[in-house]
Assembly symmetry: C2
Homo-oligomer: 303 residues x 2
C-alpha cells in the first residue's frame, strides 16, 4: 500500500459510475481530489469519505483537482465533456504537472479519444482511453473490466489506481483501442438484449410459464448475462434503470458511426438501435434497457 | 435401479443426438430396442452396447422396436419423420401396447406435435413433446435440458428414462408447450450468434487483438454461451459443425412461422434467418453456425 498510496489521484465526474469508482480509489489509500460539474456534490462526497477516515478533498475545478496529481481519472457523459474537463479553460491539463497520466473511463468515439490524447501529449500528459464494463454494481464492488488504449508505460504507472477500481485490465493497443473494445462489448450487449426481448415476448404470448422457462433457458446454449439479469427483470416487470435506454442509444450511435467508417455493416446492432428508438418514442428513455420487451408487446398487440 | 430397469425402452433414430441419448438409456440399465432408417446402423450400435454388457436389441422397424416397450423415444429430423416413425404403416403405434408413453425429442412445430399427440391418444398412447438443448456434447454426457409438453402423469411414468439422458426436465404445459419452449431457446441462440459475429467481425476489422478482447468480453455483461463457445471457434477459424447451419435454418423457419401465427413479430430472429440464408448461398450449409462470421467478412469486403 505504501507505494500505491504515493500516487496522488484526481477524479472528475461523480455520476452513477464515478461515485463507486472514486470511493474505491480512496478506500485503497490513494490521496484523492474530486471535482464535479454539479456544485456542492464533490463537497458532500468528500464529507462522507472523510468520515470514513479517507484522505480526500473537494476542488472547485478539474484544474484545481489535478494540482499535484500523478493520475487523473474522468468519468463523464460524452466526448464534449471529456474534452472540456481536460482541455477546457479550467481543465485538468491547466493544473496537472508534466508526466501525469490522464485516464478517461467515459464511453466515447475512438476518434475523439485519439484527438484528445494527441492534444494532451502536446502538453506533456499521457492519456489512456479506458472505458469500462460491469455497470454500477461493478463500479461499487470494484469488479469493473477496463478496455484500455494508449501507451503501455502510462498504463504501468497508473495500474495500481485502475486495480483499485476493477478486476480486469485489458490492454488492446494504441490510443482509441480501448474505445473500439468497448464498442465490441456494446454490440454484444445490444444483440443479446434483442434476443431476450424476442424470446420472452414470444413465450408470454405463447402462454408459457416464464419462471420455469427462464430456468431451463439459462441452463444451456441459449444463456447470456442479458438473459440471466435482464430476462429476470423483464419477467418481474422491473424496468428501473441499471443501464438507461438513453445511454445505450448514445453508445450504439457511436458504434454504428465507428463501424461505418471502417466499412463493416452491423445490421443486427442497427436494428436494436431502431427498436430502442421506438422505446424512447414511447416515453421510456430513462428506463432500463430491459424495457425493450414493451416494444415487442406493443408490436404484438399488447401483453 | 430395479424399478428403473423394469421400464422397457424403444429408441428410434440414431443420429448425432440419438446415439448419445440411446447409449445413456442403456447405460442406466433399461432394456433397450433400437430402430433406424439406415440399414445396419442399429445392428452395429447394438453390438457395441452388447460388448459393454448392456441389454440391447436391434429391430427392423419402429413397430418391432416398440413391442413390449413401456417408453418409446424418437429423435429424428423433422415433423414428417416423427409422423412416419410413430403413425406410419410400420410405426411404433402399430407395435406398442396401450398405455405406453411416446416421447419425441425432435425439434418440430408445436402444431405438428399437438396433431401427433391427438392421433396417438386415439390409439391409447400418451405423447410428450420433449425437444432438447445442450447439443451433441449434452447428449453424450447426459446433461441435456428437456422442454416438455404433455400430460403430467405420462411425464412421471417416463421420468426415469428422461433423467438418464438429461440434467433438467422442464414441464411447460400441454402438448406443444415443449416445442414452444424450444422455439424461445432458438430465438436466443440465433440473436446471440448474430451479436458474436458482429462484435468479432468489427473487432477484427478494427485491428484489435481478438484473444485478449475475448477474455475481457466474456468477463462481463456482454457474455453468453455463444460468445464463450462459438466466439472462441470464430477466433480459431474452426467452422466444423457442432450445430449445422441447415439445422439452425430449419428451426428458425419453424420459429418464425409459429410466431407469426401468434401475432408476435421477431425482427431480430428474422434478420439472423436471412443472414444464414446468405451463408447457405455461399456453400456453407453443412458448416457450424459460427461460420456466420464469414458473411460479415464478405459484407465488409474481406477479412
Amino acid at each position: 500500500m505504501s507505494e500505491a498510496s504515493s500516487l496522488h489521484v484526481a477524479f472528475i465526474g461523480l455520476g452513477t459510475m464515478g461515485q463507486g469508482m472514486a470511493r474505491n480509489i480512496a478506500k485503497a489509500g490513494f490521496p484523492l481530489a474530486v471535482a464535479t460539474r454539479t456544485s456542492g456534490k464533490a463537497e458532500a462526497f468528500v464529507r462522507t469519505l472523510s468520515a470514513e477516515g479517507r484522505d480526500a478533498r473537494a476542488a472547485r475545478t478539474p484544474a484545481a483537482a489535478a494540482e499535484g496529481a500523478d493520475v487523473v481519472v474522468s468519468c463523464v457523459p460524452d466526448a464534449p465533456e471529456v474534452e472540456d474537463v481536460h482541455l477546457g479553460a479550467s481543465g485538468t491539463a491547466a493544473g496537472a504537472r508534466p508526466g501525469a497520466v490522464v485516464i478517461d473511463c467515459s464511453t466515447i468515439a475512438a476518434e475523439a479519444a485519439r484527438a484528445i490524447a494527441a492534444r494532451l501529449l502536446e502538453k506533456g500528459l499521457s492519456f489512456l482511453d479506458a472505458p469500462v464494463s460491469g455497470g454500477q454494481k461493478g463500479a461499487v464492488e470494484g469488479t469493473l473490466t477496463f478496455f484500455i488504449g494508449g501507451d503501455v508505460t502510462a498504463l504501468e504507472k497508473a495500474r495500481p489506481v485502475l486495480e483499485a477500481m476493477g478486476r480486469r485490465l485489458t490492454a488492446l493497443g494504441p490510443s482509441g483501442a480501448g474505445q473500439l473494445g468497448k464498442a465490441a462489448n456494446q454490440i454484444l450487449v445490444a444483440n443479446n438484449l434483442m434476443g431476450v426481448s424476442e424470446a420472452l415476448a414470444f413465450a408470454a404470448k405463447a402462454g408459457l410459464p416464464l419462471t420455469s422457462l427462464h430456468e431451463a433457458l439459462t441452463s444451456g446454449a441459449a444463456n447470456s448475462w442479458a438473459l440471466e439479469v435482464l430476462g429476470k427483470k423483464m419477467i418481474d416487470r422491473d424496468f428501473k434503470p441499471a443501464f438507461a435506454v438513453k445511454h445505450q442509444q448514445k453508445d450504439l450511435a457511436i458504434v454504428l458511426r465507428t463501424a461505418r467508417a471502417r466499412g463493416i455493416p452491423l445490421p443486427g446492432t442497427a436494428l436494436v438501435h431502431q427498436l430502442l428508438t421506438a422505446l424512447e418514442a414511447s416515453g421510456r428513455a430513462e428506463d432500463g434497457t430491459q424495457a425493450l420487451l414493451t416494444v415487442y408487446e406493443s408490436l404484438g398487440g399488447g401483453r
